[in-house]
Symmetry: C2
Subunit: 354 residues, 2 copies
């Protein structure tokens, strides 16, 4: 470059979000690092995509994904005007930031949390401030409200801990928050309950979902946002006009029309989550109760540290997640729950390393 | 809403971008309104998507679409570090705004132009100012430079006129522009030349392309950006981590690997463009020379006005584009070039209305 770098100073100073590693498909690694579903999507979903591929790919898709929004409204007992579709839930999070956060406005979340919130806030020119989780991991309602943030993110089940806070706490937060509350339910299909019923009473609440976890469609990039029609209409203004392609739309509709087909897989993951939690606890790990499709485990003292476990397990063919940039997570590793066979192999690898 | 609307005032005040109408597929309308390709993509592209559908849709895609960037680098004689992939070229335009335009910074383009530039600038909190095209539609280089805009968009071939300005003018603009120049080459495959060679000498130049027009993949949402590695690296920071899904990536690679298969279709569209231009001129329309896959026609005096033609042609089964919100375009209609049969039918409909 002969000229000075023309990018905004904020952008020059930041690094982008680092997604979890997607290993070369030719390497025989078992992926337990980015919370994908170990089971493929139902045949009906694949058939819908195959059929859409053969139809009019030369034509633009529906601009606002109305067929997806109608299918979601039916599946979740909402109105289509309450639903907005995203190119993954990350796209919805981007829309939320762009719609509700102005120059130098504040954003917060109980932390540690999904690091993309901070990245997106910086890109938007806002200011992100952690609100630390207390030691007992109860929702820090007063601290979140006192932060005076225009936007508050709460992940439930939380990432990367997997724990859930009571829905009544989310309701109390919405009631008293100065701005918008985003309840990120990326993992909620693996949990005991969800926040949809809160939408009726709280017009500053936005719930986000993804098809990347429970619905086995991380490769398709579909997220859904649920809120009231007023907030949805504002978000539609900043949405890219054709943010879902025809194949995502076809697959998403089929997934929503076939939610029952996912139940056995979800049940298997929940069972496996309980088993692996106990097995790791028996081996000296501290594991928080998780309602997600992953668990966060504190490694036993006098063994490897978190990064050591990451590398040693990778050498044994298991890719897990370690959040090296956050000192609060230095002694912890996050493990996605896979199939029984995958988790048997993982536990055997752990045994070999203890 | 019991609370005040929490959206940014800028967003509340604006309306979103209005994309061209996508009619209900059950209505027998010939779409000549959004510059899609009348020919389907080659079989190799569809086969690649069908194959990818059956493989690992449960896993996230490549985060930065490296396979697409490698295929593009090979096809266009660039390095992969010079290429960035978008979920449609609109996604690339969004990245450009977010990377290079700060709060209240200026953006301009010779106008009338693609109205999304103004929408994206407003969303970003920047200020968009038209730089009018002169009567002879030569590039207003001095006016663009004097605007002191941080970002200048030039569409070449231009939308909605279809005309091209000399590449030497683009070079001169880059040399003297205070900030970044985006050369939007959405329609360039239908033109005589393109701006790729300018990338070597101008490190403030970004070229954007789309697969929605010449490559017949509007339904897949793939755009490409070409620039120098420094600007590309900054844009990657604001890019959504998984902005292309697995099927878009597979289709895009196959399209780039099979560019030769598109040549007959592109040649047919160019021939048809010449023919329809002359046929409309013979009927009293004024038509600018177009190097795109559409033409902009000024309707004959003493016939319907632009909106009248839109409605009358729709009643006859032909959907064209009319830009009612811009008074400079009130007497003009834009017609996408379709197949010979489609254009024969269109011309017959025109005859019936004259």
């Amino acid at each position: 470059m002969n000229r000075p770098n023309p990018a905004r100073i904020d952008i020059q100073k930041m690094s982008g979000y680092t997604p979890g590693e997607q290993p070369d498909p030719s390497r025989p690694l078992t992926k337990l690092n980015t919370n994908e579903n170990p089971f493929p999507p139902p045949k009906a979903v694949l058939d819908a995509i195959l059929s859409a591929t053969k139809q009019n790919l030369r034509l633009y898709p529906e601009p606002s994904s109305i067929s997806v929004r109608q299918a979601a409204a039916k599946a979740y007992n909402l109105k289509p005007e309450q639903v907005i579709a995203g190119n993954g839930s990350d796209d919805l999070l981007t829309m939320v930031l762009r719609t509700f956060v102005g120059h130098k406005q504040l954003v917060t979340a109980p932390a540690p949390t999904y690091s993309l919130y901070e990245t997106l806030t910086k890109i938007q020119g806002g200011i992100f401030k952690d609100t630390p989780w207390p030691d007992d991991f109860s929702l820090p309602i007063d601290d979140l409200i006192k932060s005076n943030a225009q936007l508050i993110f709460v992940v439930r089940p939380n990432a990367p801990t997997g724990h859930v806070v009571p829905l009544a706490d989310i309701a109390k937060l919405c009631e008293n928050a100065p701005g918008v509350v985003v309840l990120d339910e990326a993992y909620v299909d693996f949990a005991e309950d969800n926040g949809l019923s809160l939408l009726n009473d709280h017009d500053n609440l936005i719930i986000t979902r993804t098809m990347s976890k429970s619905l086995g469609l991380a490769g398709l990039r579909v997220g859904l946002g649920f809120t009231n029609p007023t907030l949805a209409a504002e978000m539609h203004k900043v949405r890219d006009s054709y943010n879902l392609n025809r194949l995502s739309q076809a697959g998403a509709v089929a997934a929503l029309d076939n939610l029952a087909a996912y139940k056995p897989g979800i049940a298997a993951i929940r069972n496996e989550r309980s088993r692996v939690t106990i097995e790791l606890q028996n081996r000296g790990f501290t594991v928080m109760d998780s309602q997600a499709n992953f668990i966060l485990a504190t490694v036993p003292k006098d063994t490897l540290n978190g990064e050591g476990w990451l590398n040693a397990l990778r050498n044994k063919g298991y890719l897990i997640r370690y959040f090296g940039s956050d000192p609060r997570l230095a002694d912890k590793i996050r493990i996605t729950i896979g199939t029984k066979d995958e988790m048997d192999g993982f536990l055997q690898a752990v045994d070999e390393l203890l």
